[in-house]
């Protein structure tokens, strides 16, 4: 598995999209951080960039890459290797390259200009989002036979988690506002990795006003420490579940 992963990474770090992705993130980070005197504000802006771009780019790029590699995956599977090893090696190679682009693009400027715990948390949430959305892309790849449908599903999934989910949550809160739904909202938040990433970051910054409803609830019920641990565990589940499902489906997939 390591062998295949090594070569996938070697292929991807020379991929133009990955390089451009890293450069755009770096330019954005440098400019955002140097505009404002208050580094916390800069980090917040970067958080918004992360929450919008990382899921979309990760899931789209990964889906397209998986579908384009289908003939190569066939060739690898014709060699004496286990099926799940090939699949997980492709996943690992992609995640490593995309995270590397993110950690270099955002991490480097942030660590130079304002190295603190909040900055590390931002990088952590961006990294976890990359892991999660590359895993969701893998699941889409094994479930769909057709590339176009797969890309459609990837866009739909990204839109659902970045935009639609919060809207639905708002409707839910609005319709049941006469009931004690605080804990329910906490639970529902776990179903959206983007929300989890946002909360993880906001728990570190002292900006309760900006946290929104669910963020404030987290702070109230769990406090910063337990809240963060809970969020990270939820996010790790978001990595593992799609991966395990993908391996299961792939075991029986016809290529």
């Amino acid at each position: 598995m390591k062998t295949i992963m090594k070569y996938v990474v070697a292929d991807l770090i020379r991929n133009k999209v990955i390089v451009v992705y890293a450069i755009i993130l770096a330019v954005l980070s440098f400019s955002v951080l140097s505009i404002d005197e208050n580094p916390a504000k800069g980090l917040l802006s970067l958080l918004n960039v992360t929450l919008l771009f990382v899921p979309l780019i990760s899931i789209l790029f990964a889906t397209i890459y998986y579908f384009n590699s289908i003939e190569f995956i066939e060739l690898l599977l014709a060699q004496p290797v286990r099926r799940n090893k090939v699949l997980l090696a492709e996943y690992a190679g992609l995640t490593i390259s995309l995270s590397l682009a993110y950690l270099l693009g955002v991490g480097l400027p942030v660590m130079i200009i304002s190295p603190n715990l909040a900055a590390i948390t931002l990088l952590m949430s961006g990294f976890l989002l990359t892991l999660i959305f590359t895993a969701i892309a893998l699941l889409i790849f094994v479930l769909f036979k057709d590339k176009t449908k797969g890309i459609g599903a990837a866009i739909a999934a990204a839109m659902f988690f970045t935009l639609l989910f919060d809207g639905l949550l708002l409707i839910f809160i609005y319709s049941f506002n006469e009931y004690p739904i605080d804990k329910a909202v906490l639970g529902i938040t776990a179903f959206n990795p983007v929300d989890l990433a946002r909360i993880l970051m906001l728990l570190q910054l002292d900006v309760a006003v900006l946290m929104g409803y669910s963020g404030a609830l987290f702070k109230k019920f769990l406090g910063t420490g337990t809240g963060s641990v809970y969020v990270v565990i939820c996010m790790l589940f978001w990595v593992l579940l799609p991966l395990m499902l993908s391996v299961r489906v792939f075991r029986k997939k016809d290529l």
Binding site: Y7, L75, L77, D254, L255
Partner: protein, 241 residues
């Protein structure tokens, strides 16, 4: 060497393979023929474990392939369409497959030199033409001198010179006692290299005969004439019924 028993596979309502039973012995070159969508590639992919059959069994060297994967070290596969990671060079691709098949350290690099692939090993896969990619695929299939060679449309897209080199290699390997499975639409390319012919249509086995038998039956010398003649007879037979 390969023993296929009552193999059935459907994709939705489409029956790609319908109760196919075949035996392939070593030292033979077997051509899989049939119109588009007749199940040739599905049959090959089932042997490679890429397609999981609904029913039936496949045994290779008397061992049934189930969830086992080691058996594929006996097989060299040349796919119909070779696509590789774009930014890898030819040298890297060859090195990678060698790294994956570490169990085998004796390499057969004859084709690499004959096809001139070694001279362009620093080119990236993205910059290659379809034919050159086919050459790389061919080199990879023969690299580990496996006992079974599975070639899916090997000569499609190759220039005449490369195609002749590949054909000579196939004959040479077959004479060494290997089993070679080929699918091709170019029957003239199979002339002189194939020993047996398997003809599939709509997922069913129409016939499995040696070239000598076919020659005897049809008194033709060219493979395409033989096949045409047999198919004509089949048609008139079914028409009679």
């Amino acid at each position: 060497m390969i023993h296929i028993n009552a193999l059935t596979k459907s994709f939705g309502s489409f029956k790609a393979l319908d109760n196919i039973s075949l035996n392939f012995a070593k030292g033979r070159t077997v051509s899989l023929l049939g119109p588009n969508g007749s199940g040739k590639t599905t049959l090959i992919k089932s042997i490679l474990g890429l397609v999981i059959p609904d029913k039936g069994t496949i045994s290779i060297n008397d061992k049934q392939i189930g969830n086992d994967w080691q058996y594929r070290s006996h097989i060299g596969y040349m796919p119909q369409i070779g696509r590789y990671p774009e930014n890898m060079t030819i040298g890297q691709v060859i090195k990678m497959i060698k790294d994956i098949r570490k169990d085998n350290v004796q390499y057969d690099e004859e084709l690499i030199t004959q096809l001139g692939v070694d001279k362009i090993s620093s080119k990236t896969m993205r910059s290659l033409s379809g034919g050159t990619r086919q050459k790389v695929s061919a080199c990879l299939a023969f690299l580990f001198s496996p006992g079974i060679l599975i070639l899916d449309e090997p000569t499609a897209g190759l220039d005449p010179l490369a195609s002749e080199i590949l054909k000579d290699k196939i004959i040479q390997e077959c004479n060494k006692g290997k089993l070679v499975l080929i699918t091709s639409h170019i029957l003239s390319d199979l002339d002189g290299i194939t020993n047996d012919v398997v003809y599939l249509q709509d997922g069913k086995l129409i016939f499995y005969k040696s070239v000598d038998e076919l020659q005897h039956m049809t008194s033709e010398t060219k493979l395409n004439k033989m096949i045409a003649s047999v198919m004509r007879n089949e048609h008139t037979k079914t028409a009679d019924i």
